[in-house]
Amino acid sequence: MTTRYIGKPLKRKEDPRLIQGIGHYVDDLSLSGMHYAAFLRSPYAHAKIRSVDLSKARHASGVVLALSGADIDGAIQAVPCAAQIPDMKAAARPVLARDRVRFVGEAVAVVVASDRYAARDALDLIEVDYEALTPIVNPEKAIAKGAAPLHAGHKDNVAFKWELEGGDLKAAFQSADKVIKQRIVNQRLIPVPIETRGVLADYKPGEGQLTVWSSTQIPHLLRTQIASMLNFPETLVRVVTPEVGGGFGTKLNVYPEEALVAYLAIQLGKPVKWIESRRENFQATIHGRDQIDDLEVAIKRDGTVLGLRCRVIADLGAYYQLLTPLIPTLTGLMMTGCYKIPAARMEITGVFTNKMATDAYRGAGRPEATYLIERVMDLVAVELKKDPIEVRRKNFPQPKDFPYATPTGLIYDSGDYQKALDVALKVADYKKLRQEQAKLRKEGRYTGIGISTYVEICGMGPSSAMPAGGWESATVRVEPTGGVSVMTGSSPHGQGQETTFAQLGADILGIDPSQVQVVHGDTSIVPYGIGTFGSRATAVGGTAVYKSLQKVKEKLAQIAAHLVGSDPERMVFADGKISAKESPKKSVAFGQAVSAAYVAKTLPADMEPGLEATTFFEPSNFTYPFGTHICVVEIDAETGDVKLVRYVAVDDCGNVINPLLVEGQVQGGIVQSVGQALLEEAVYDEQGQLITGELMDYALPRATDMCWIETERTVTPTPVNPMGVKGVGEAGTIAATPALAGAVADALAPFGIHHVDMPFKREKIWHLLQKGNGRTQ
């Protein structure tokens, strides 16, 4: 195969419609007779519902339906949770609260009206009699003795306990020269895709067909779940995912509104649309992170890390969403990072609090792992007065150690961690950075250099290790006119599969990318698939496409060989032709061979007509991308302001299909991660009110918050799939927070400060400096 397109920075096929504003997101769709739903949500974090009076709302102008939890009792199942942990307690989120609310923003009633203003007006006419209960906000208090359980039938607020241990931990701590202890906090975040969630549902009673348009990352799984929740035949449910304006994990879920809006459309026989407001998105779409990690590290004087013990309190919120309990366990699997640490143990306590559920937010458990292990490496360096680079290098596995088995039970596929580190040191000119830092310190200026050498678990994943199937589907159909349709289960939300998969099709079949049309996000067209998350679209979805393309190619080779009188093995696909190696005269146009498959008069004996192949690709392992990020911050000792001065990222995601898109993923991930490090924090007050409930109170990184990101790549292909691709969607988010944290701690080292919890807001840094009277040690 000649690679004219794979590996090249092709411009995206998606873009013309998006830059002209003529793509269609859910709210851009309208159907004749469409009505609008609006939800009344609890203003209390914890309360009994004594009564819900909908009578005034039902008589309001334009209102056609108003329902409370009691009205749909038994008609719609609770939100599903696919994660299973032994002995985990039940905490299913009801579609509408029935007699108790457990977080601010929990839906209590729904109104449907002829236009969106009327629907929102009618919410003001609903009278709910609440009896406020004491909210439980702090996860440590939630599991303290005597705390009242949130859920009936539970004896406390412990959702589950999960343990993982590998290697001889006891021996590691016994033979240690030193033990370092540290508590670190990975704060709760609000993901904030710029497009909120949205659902449009239409029911055709004659055909019995229910169509649901939803801004989701998982159209097929959503279809199955809507059918289950409504007890409706799955065969009659069609889910369509139009353009999705960002997901970041929030749309890798099933929400009450998705089932309820479908239910309303069935009840009314009218199309119903619901578009989430930004405030609703803050309150009632999943949150991310929220872990307290207590670490103990056994080390030798030379910097070798012998063992790592970590006790985690994971604040799950009030109910489970699709994967809520699973997320912190990913932290456990990745807790030893890119280091050869022989023994490790993690104990996780999942805790219920009166908050929105946490779940998969870009990186999902792995940014927490990288953050904790990279903080460990920095603390070891401080303790032993060594350079943080030296400590990392000391503990790296060598390239010959791959595949490398971790004490947590994973097999890292391939890696060359030294190489990525070396490239990063060179690009950053690390030596010079240290010299400059020393010079500036003498002038009373405090810069800090942060290093993150990371590995992530991607290409999710083998079904044996996934809650609901980790494979992906692809159908390739060459149409009679010669165009190639690629139907992928990896429904994208900005990743650019329409382009990358077209690049695969073009190179494998020797045609132009413009001849390849990638179709996704419609369960009536695309074979059952899983979706886009966990950096899996290319490594798993792309491999399914690759394999289907190969099957179609094989058939075309047989047809072409039959037509020109050659051997299928000798047929070459290039420039829109299929030719025999031995003679340029033995050649047919691509379209001619395709046509033969459909006209079916000149096919080899016993060959079926048509040109279509489907693959369900099951990966044998995860993939493990890695890299090194280095950044420089300067802290203003007077104001506490943290300024990001430089950022160098060297990432290795294996082979690359489109470097332009890889670059975009890396940069975007880094900035999202910088957001966590410097700005973002979901804050609930003691009453369980989300006081960062709007973009006015929750700061996302802006263009002015960033410095220029310098990127490089190393290439270590994976043996897990034939293309050698690993995935890159979460790399930046996983790598950047520890680099920032290391840089801030390094800048504050002269003041005797070696760890600060994120976010590094100026008032926090200022207060820390005030405590020490701003004196250097």
Partner: protein, 184 residues
């Protein structure tokens, strides 16, 4: 209330509720859904349009406040003729015009991923380049700081704006001789 305005070069007269937001007027009444709603509080900038040539956020303006004005939405930015009402676009309908240099820059430099913030970003960049033909990186960052993007990390957007600035200044002499009517 009666309102009259021009959108993408076309005149409109409508009767609207006084409380109707401009963004809902554009999207739901005129069907111009390229203008997006991201926050309803003027923070995210997804709803940015050009009102009398200036970038404004249409989610916190009332439709009645726009009466008498000239609006360009993302659909009106591409141009394939010379009759642009305000010299920015011609409103001939999206999809069949030549791309504006800023749109082209976003495509060339991979300035978008999910595309949701993109119309607002593009119109904000158009506004900047009208005021400052050769902005430096800091000026571009500052101009875009009222528009949030959660996908790209902004760097490719900055490169897209730089691309457009370069292209528009290179086109300038051509434009004068050909009097194309497009704002450089």
């Amino acid at each position: 209330m009666e309102i009259q305005l021009r959108v993408n070069g076309k005149p409109y007269e409508s009767k609207v509720e006084p409380r109707l937001l401009l963004v809902h007027y554009l999207r739901d009444v005129l069907g111009l859904t390229g203008t997006h709603i991201g926050c309803e509080t003027s923070i995210c900038g997804a709803c940015t349009i050009l009102l009398d040539g200036k970038a404004v956020k249409s989610c916190t303006l009332l439709a009645v406040q726009a009466s008498g004005s000239e609006i360009t939405t993302i659909e009106g930015l591409a141009s394939n003729s010379q009759k642009g009402g305000n010299g920015i676009g011609n409103g001939s309908g999206a999809g069949n015009g030549a791309l504006h240099a800023v749109q082209e820059g976003f495509w060339e430099k991979h300035g978008l991923q999910c595309g949701y913030c993109t119309p607002g970003m593009i119109l904000t960049a158009v506004d900047l380049l009208q005021r400052n033909k050769n902005p430096n990186e800091a000026e571009i960052r500052s101009a875009l700081s009222g528009n949030l993007c959660r996908c790209t990390g902004y760097q490719h957007i900055i490169e897209a704006v730089q691309y457009a600035a370069k292209k528009m200044s290179a086109r300038k002499p051509l434009k004068m001789s050909a009097s194309s009517g497009r704002t450089p």
